[in-house]
């Protein structure tokens, strides 16, 4: 599903340039349940943004579902995001003047699905998240866990191939964290490739594969074996 070769990314400001990703090699197959961890500044958010085609990269190749994602126009990037990727963010990023149902339905608006049809589909997804009764509520009237579930419903509505979650539980307490992780785990079981960036041990432990980043490189990764993670290999040669 995702194939990355020698990926480099630098940020340039007026006074200094920062080499954030220093040659990442990564393969994620369809249906995998992956978390990316690392200290802040290790480049995990940058990697996720590149994976989500929200940001560009300087060197290397990135193939998503067989397509080379490189030097895309804004429009092409938008189409890929719409077709392939569902985002879940730490700060939910719901549109505050739209109610839960309208927020969930929005990606279908950009896919030119009719209003009636997309509202029906959105309601199904909300229902799946247990939020049918909250469909007319504005984000400001929802709890953090509810907001994140609305955001997940929105990420799912366009039937993406990959779910990218950036610290999805960062703004939640431990109970709601479990709740949201259950939702993401269940989605993965339905066959969706799920990638979560997190620095929380409990979150990464729930996934089947943990990729540790350090200073812009993959330090090592672990896979779940009989429900337990163990170190397999240091990656960067």
């Amino acid at each position: 599903m995702i194939h990355i070769r020698q990926l480099h990314k630098s940020y340039h400001t007026e006074s200094l340039s920062l080499h954030v990703l220093k040659g990442i090699n990564l393969d994620i197959e369809a249906g995998e349940y992956v978390s990316v961890t690392g200290a802040s500044g290790s480049g995990k958010s940058t990697l996720l943004n590149i994976l989500g085609i929200l940001d560009s990269y300087d060197q290397g190749d990135y193939h998503l579902n067989g397509s080379l994602i490189k030097n895309l126009s804004e429009k092409e990037a938008a189409v890929y995001r719409n077709e392939m990727i569902g985002f879940v963010f730490q700060s939910f990023n719901l549109i505050n003047f739209k109610n839960a149902l309208e927020n969930v339905a929005l990606p279908l608006y950009y896919k030119k699905v009719s209003r009636k049809k997309r509202n029906i589909i959105a309601m199904e997804h909300l229902d799946k998240m247990g939020l049918r009764d909250w469909s007319k509520h504005l984000p400001s009237e929802l709890s953090g866990g509810q907001k994140q579930r609305v955001a997940i419903a929105r990420a799912m509505i366009a039937n993406p191939k990959v779910i990218l979650a950036d610290e999805p539980t960062g703004a939640l307490d431990s109970t709601t964290t479990l709740e949201v992780m259950d939702v993401l785990t269940n989605l993965n079981r339905e066959g969706i490739t799920t990638i979560i960036v997190t620095h929380e041990q409990s979150v990464s432990d729930a996934t089947n594969r943990i990729i540790h980043l350090k200073d812009g490189m993959i330090e090592y990764e672990t896979r779940k074996n009989n429900g337990v993670h163990a170190t397999i290999q240091p990656v960067n040669f």
Partner: protein, 420 residues
């Protein structure tokens, strides 16, 4: 397309404050502009109407009393015109066009048991055009050349006199008694004098024969052509004074011997002032429009800035930059059009309302001898200007929405979403 409108409408509805503020600044700009232009136009129309009540190029001459000795004649002589002066002006003054001698007197005019004392004016046929009398179709005719030649005893009455003497009867063709002589009514004049009372008009030749045995009179009115500047008019007045001085034997320096009222030179002056007023109103209008544009641009700028995060979210879930740009621009067109139209309607509404009440007040007044003067008439705006101003503001709104939106759309979604 319908879905797109729905989305835009939804966004506007759910951001009422933003929508209202933007809208009001557009409405207010247009409203003020139209009211202002209306006031300017009202002033202009008012003054113009006062002018149009007589020929703007008319010159009035009144003979006076000399105040200087001249050619061995002492001062204090009362001067008067004869028909020779009329011929002289007609034949020797190149610029003169229509001319009438005027013999004014006052007579009792009666019909059966009704009577009244009115001004009686012996005038020539040209008087109709010079003073712009108004004889409606079906109200007869004015004095003509044949009347002049035959010294016909015909009379044209002001409407007020006709109403007093004839009540509901048809006056045309009836005989009225003027002093001791019977005249046939041939026409009714509907134009009211700005100053003074009602008058009746008879042929000048008849007036001379019946009421003026000395055949002297004191006023001549004529129109001129080809005098456009104040200097030209002043020079013309001077030469006229010189010519009359020779004919009537007075010192051309003697201001009291001859009064000249040159409406043309007044007109030229007023037109000049008017240019000033128009210029002033235009400047204020342009400034108001600019203020409106700045207001709209500012709000658009702020609103797009405020929406950077929303734009980022929309991009992340698959909106193309073009679609976002299109939405924002259509929103601004929608707001500026609707509210601009409302402001235009309100502005036009107000000016028309003021006009309506002014017309009502004028019509409500009974027919009086009071001067029909108004400095403010028809304060309405040409619809073209109103539409033009609205279109300019809409255009400004679009540009003002487009520029920051283009920038906002270029921002990476992650950065946009980080903005709280």
């Amino acid at each position: 397309m319908r879905d797109q409108f729905q989305e835009i409408f939804d966004t506007l509805k759910k951001n009422k404050l933003r929508t209202t503020l933007t809208g009001l600044s557009v409405s207010w700009g247009i409203f003020i502009l139209i009211v202002l232009l209306g006031a300017g136009n009202g002033l202009k129309n008012g003054v113009m109407q006062n002018f149009s009540s007589r020929a703007v190029n008319s010159i009035n001459l009144w003979s006076g009393t000399t105040s200087m000795p001249h050619n061995g004649l002492k001062s204090g002589r009362q001067l008067a015109f004869t028909e020779n002066e009329v011929d002289a002006i007609n034949n020797q003054v190149e610029e003169s066009r229509l001319i009438t001698a005027r013999y004014n007197t006052s007579q009792t005019i009666s019909y059966e048991s009704e009577y009244g004392s009115y001004g009686l004016r012996g005038v020539m046929p040209n008087y109709l055009d010079i003073e712009k009398l108004l004889i409606h179709p079906g109200d007869g005719r004015f004095i003509n050349e044949l009347d002049m030649k035959e010294k016909n005893k015909v009379i044209v009455l002001d409407q007020k006199i006709a109403e007093v003497l004839f009540k509901n009867e048809q006056p045309l063709g009836k005989q009225v008694k003027v002093g001791q002589v019977m005249f046939k009514v041939v026409g009714i004049n509907a134009k009211k004098e700005q100053y003074g009372g009602s008058n009746a008009y008879i042929p000048f030749s008849t007036a001379q024969a019946i009421y003026n045995p000395r055949r002297k009179f004191w006023q001549i009115t004529f129109t001129v052509d080809g005098l456009t500047t104040k200097t030209e008019n002043d020079r013309f007045n001077e030469s006229l004074r010189g010519m009359m001085g020779q004919r009537l034997n007075f010192n051309p320096e003697d201001q009291q011997a001859l009064y000249i009222y040159n409406a043309q030179s007044e007109y030229v002056e007023t037109i000049k002032i008017f240019g000033g007023i128009t210029f002033f109103v235009t400047i204020i209008g342009i400034l108001t429009l600019i203020a409106g544009i700045v207001g709209v641009s500012n709000i658009m700028l702020v609103s797009v800035k405020e929406r950077t995060r929303e734009i980022g979210i929309r991009k992340a879930i698959g909106a193309t930059p073009l679609s976002i740009l299109k939405t924002i621009i259509m929103e601004s067109i929608f707001i500026t059009t609707i509210f601009g139209y409302m402001g235009m309607l309100m502005g036009i509404g107000l000016t028309e309302l003021v006009n309506f009440f002014m017309v009502q007040t004028a019509n409500g007044k009974p027919v009086t001898d009071e001067p029909q003067m108004s400095i403010f008439t028809n304060p309405t705006v040409d619809i073209g200007y109103a539409i033009f101003a609205t279109v300019v503001l809409i255009f400004a709104g679009v540009i003002a929405g487009y520029l920051p939106a283009r920038k906002a759309v270029r921002v990476q979604p992650i950065e946009a979403m980080r903005q709280e």
